[in-house]
Amino acid sequence: MSSLFDTVLRILPHRAPTGLTAIGNPDRSSPVLLTGNYTLTVQRIKEALDGLDAWLLVADSNGINVWCASGGGHLTHHDVISAIRTSGVQDKVDHRRLILPQLCATGVERSRVEDATGWTALWGPASAEDIPAFLERGEHTARQERSVRFPLRDRLEMAAMWIGPLVPILWLVLWPITGAGASAIDAAAVMLIVLILYMLFPWLPLRVLRGIPVYAALALGGFGIGTGLLGLAGLLHGSTLFWLGAACVVGTAIASIDVAGSTPLLASSVNPSDFEVELILDRCTGTAECVLVCPREVLLMDGHARKVRMAKPGNCILCAACIVQCPTDALRFRFDDGHVVEPDVIRHTRMNLLGKRKTAAL
């Protein structure tokens, strides 16, 4: 019940208790995994680790999931250092190895955690479901585990996040205007639009013209189905049709506002889009730190050259994890107009107000 509540209202933060949690019957040599204090994340990791013995160290991410909290500066190495020092984990285990979720790499500087605490920090997989295989393999990620996935279950969760508040509000607002039946159909049409948007997400050309053709088609489709339902219910007339149209336009507009932010496969729409990650080969020493944190397999190791190469630049979602982690500052952002944003600026400010920072001297 509480997880249903959390799923439907996941647009709001949901704080799980911070600190150290035992999963199964961990002992002094059991692995220590870090996560943020978002209720659904903690729950999903516990499910993924069912049957294993491990310590889960929950850091304060302000009740926000790991990916969003790290990109927004709410989960950083400061939180990880704080969790190690204040949770009592150092008294519970003999080793000093901490497994970080790969998706915190935009905010948590691995080297800073190691320098401050003396712990060795390792990159874990991108998805909680892959943790058992990762542990089994001796704490190494396989290439496919570093690539972020967006399966149907996750897509439906995100659809529920938008449907949860949007549909009841639309229904209640339209009820006094068009009556209970017609307003329910309006709300159902909007629900359908959001559901189809997320179910078909991998196949929709959302990068074309900022997705406007797709959204227009969705709104029209919802309007068509709604019109049919109004007809079947005998409620079809000018005013109900007008309000159905309005609901479809408003519902699609709201659902489309933050599709990039609700999915892990598109670059943020908050920041400008006229920039890309630049690899400075002279500085690359082939530590492959960036390869381990890239959630889109953009960067791969070139074994012969002992350097990294941009294998799939078109996949890049500009999350900056590679820039933040590179120990030799071999990656940075370059804007189309020639401006560059250096790694230090990104490390200090994460992705916040990136456009304003392209000229900032920090």
Binding site: L12, P13, T18, G19, D60, N62, G63, I64, G72, G73, H74, T76, H78, D79, I81, S82, R85, T86, S87, A116, H348, T349, N352, L362
Partner: protein
């Protein structure tokens, strides 16, 4: 005050509004309690620098630490004579030796910490203070008077909901720190309330 922090440039205006214009006098009062000429002051969670600057104006040598680089950027634009460091309260030990400050101050920061982090920070503060040094912590608390407490909770409820929607977070009033401070080993502990739901606690490290 995390929401305000996510837009550091707006912090000063936001916090002035939320405190009903009283925050400036709180900064002054903290400085009065903690700072003096040639005194070394550490400001934990300095934010945009309100308390640090008030202390520096009294002639103190101030170090302001905050975990948010955006806030420090705003602070640095106001004063270049103060040392601003990106540091969490649990990282003080990495940077500062024991007994190197005459005063440690913190305003509206403890309400954002978990109880474990609060305890950790208090014990580090005790160790970093020189004998006779003072710790001044200012934060939101529940009113002592039962009637006022009810009013406070009623008034706070819509605020919490609005903050939650807008800000992605809540801050909670902190527990009364007087007893925890005494238990930890501070000598004299004093407190005052500029208004019923706000407390300034001063604790002195035994000489």
């Amino acid at each position: 005050m995390r929401r305000l922090e996510s837009t550091p440039a707006r912090y000063d205006r936001g916090i002035a509004l939320l405190s009903g214009g009283r925050i400036g006098s709180v900064y002054e009062r903290i400085a009065e309690l903690a700072a003096d000429r040639n005194v070394d002051v550490l400001d934990i969670g300095c934010g945009t620098g309100g308390v640090s600057i008030a202390c520096a104006k009294r002639g103190a040598t101030v170090v302001g630490i905050d975990r948010d680089a955006g806030m420090l950027e705003v602070a640095a634009s106001k004063s270049s004579s103060i040392e601003w460091l990106e540091l969490d309260s649990t990282e003080i030990e990495d940077r500062f030796d024991p007994e190197c400050f005459d005063a440690i101050v913190s305003c509206l920061v403890f309400s954002e910490m978990s109880p474990q982090v609060q305890d950790y920070t208090l014990s580090i503060a005790l160790s970093r203070l020189r004998p006779g040094g003072r710790l001044v912590i200012a934060d939101e608390v529940e009113p002592e008077d039962a009637g006022q407490r009810v009013l406070y909770r009623l008034r706070r409820a819509p605020m919490v909901a609005a903050t939650w929607l807008l800000t992605q977070t809540t801050t909670r009033p902190i527990r009364d720190l007087r007893k925890p401070l005494l238990d930890l080993g501070f000598g004299e502990v004093d407190s005052e309330r500029p208004w019923p739901s706000f407390q300034i606690v001063t604790a002195i490290k035994p000489s």
